[in-house]
């Protein structure tokens, strides 16, 4: 098997110098991203409202999902055995919109078959009174294999080319 070894490009506008974000804002963002993982992994779907804005938009390899139930509808596509979610390597940047920051993280999913899948979260969050909530999230799988669903293979940034 040969792989396309070209590196994925940074999302538009990332990795440029931007205004420093207060450490309290970074902590609020990290807390929200981690709570998302805990709530999904433990099927506490009713708790997701504490970390998602009401008009939350989720863009995934499986399509776009809108509204408060977006995360549940997407995450349960995997069926009964939702993988364990881990988020690492979060960088937080200011935006030109007051109260909005964006975060670029790597996710690691641990499946019930002991496999690891990785990719990126591209998030926009609203921070108010020390609490961060996700306004939008784009999920971008990375690496051969992507998420454990066939339809995701077509959007991987490292594409398998040929046998």
């Amino acid at each position: 098997m040969r792989y396309d070894t070209s590196l994925p490009r940074s999302p538009s506008g990332w990795n440029r110098l931007s205004p420093i974000v207060a450490i309290e804002t970074v902590h609020a963002v990290e807390q929200a991203l981690a709570l998302y993982d805990h709530f999904v992994d433990n099927a506490e779907w009713e708790q997701l409202g504490s970390v998602l804005e009401g008009d939350f938009v989720l863009v995934t390899p499986a399509g776009r999902f809108d509204g408060p139930g977006a995360a549940r509808r997407y995450e349960t596509l995997a069926g009964e055995h939702v993988p364990a979610h881990h988020v690492v390597n979060t960088q937080v940047e200011a935006t030109t919109s007051a109260g909005l920051v964006r975060a670029w993280s790597r996710f690691l999913l641990v499946t019930w078959e002991y496999r690891a899948r990785v990719g990126d979260y591209l998030d926009v969050l609203r921070v108010s009174d020390g609490v961060a909530k996700l306004v939008s999230r784009e999920i971008v799988p990375r690496g051969a294999g992507g998420l454990p669903r066939p339809e995701h293979a077509s959007v991987e940034r490292w594409r398998t080319v040929g046998p």
Binding site: I23, E24, H27, Q31, L33, A34, L35, D37, H38, F39, D41, N42, E44, Q47, H81, V82, P83, A84, H85, H86, V87, V88, L108, V110, T111, W112, E113, Y114, R115, A116
Partner: protein
């Protein structure tokens, strides 16, 4: 009414404690256990059940590891969320994953009560772990997810500062 709060320094110090834990446990570096735990720290337990004292865990650690069906693989700690539940008392909910020698991966959760000691440092007073997202045939048993956000916010185990 505003409850107890955590400063940025508190959050950083507590996350350092969580990071030290994985080094201490993975290296059986019990001489540094006091950099992670209070002297009266316990594992597991609940409102009606006492946890296992840290000393007993350490004394039985080598035997426990030897009895495991697979080696103890290094832990990575992620996803720590912190909430101050009383002055000097924090509840932490974090996750861990391990990468085994064959490249397979397992995951689970930690839920801790972390307290500010008399010396001003933060230490783990109680730790509970749950095994997450694994097949029923796992050598340690099936997935057992027992943590909830309610337990995180209100668990009565070891409520006081050290």
């Amino acid at each position: 009414m505003t409850g107890p709060t955590l400063t940025a320094q508190d959050r950083q110090d507590i996350k350092m404690v969580l990071a030290r834990y994985v080094q201490v446990i993975d290296n059986a570096d019990w001489e540094r256990a006091d950099a992670v735990f209070t002297a009266d720290a316990t594992f597991g337990g609940g409102s009606d059940t006492p946890g296992t004292p840290l000393g007993e865990m350490i004394d039985g650690f080598d035997e426990m590891v030897a009895a495991r069906p697979v080696p103890l693989f290094p832990h990575q700690c992620t996803d720590a969320v912190l909430i101050a539940v009383a002055p000097g008392v924090v509840r932490s909910w974090s996750k861990f994953f391990t990468v085994r020698a064959d490249g397979t991966v397992t995951s689970g959760d930690y839920m801790d009560t972390i307290v500010r000691t008399g010396a001003g440092s933060w230490r783990v007073k109680n730790r509970a772990a749950s095994m997450g997202n694994r097949p029923d045939t796992d050598p340690f048993g099936p997935s057992r997810r027992t943590f909830t956000s309610t337990i995180w916010r209100t668990h009565p185990n070891e409520p006081g500062p050290a």
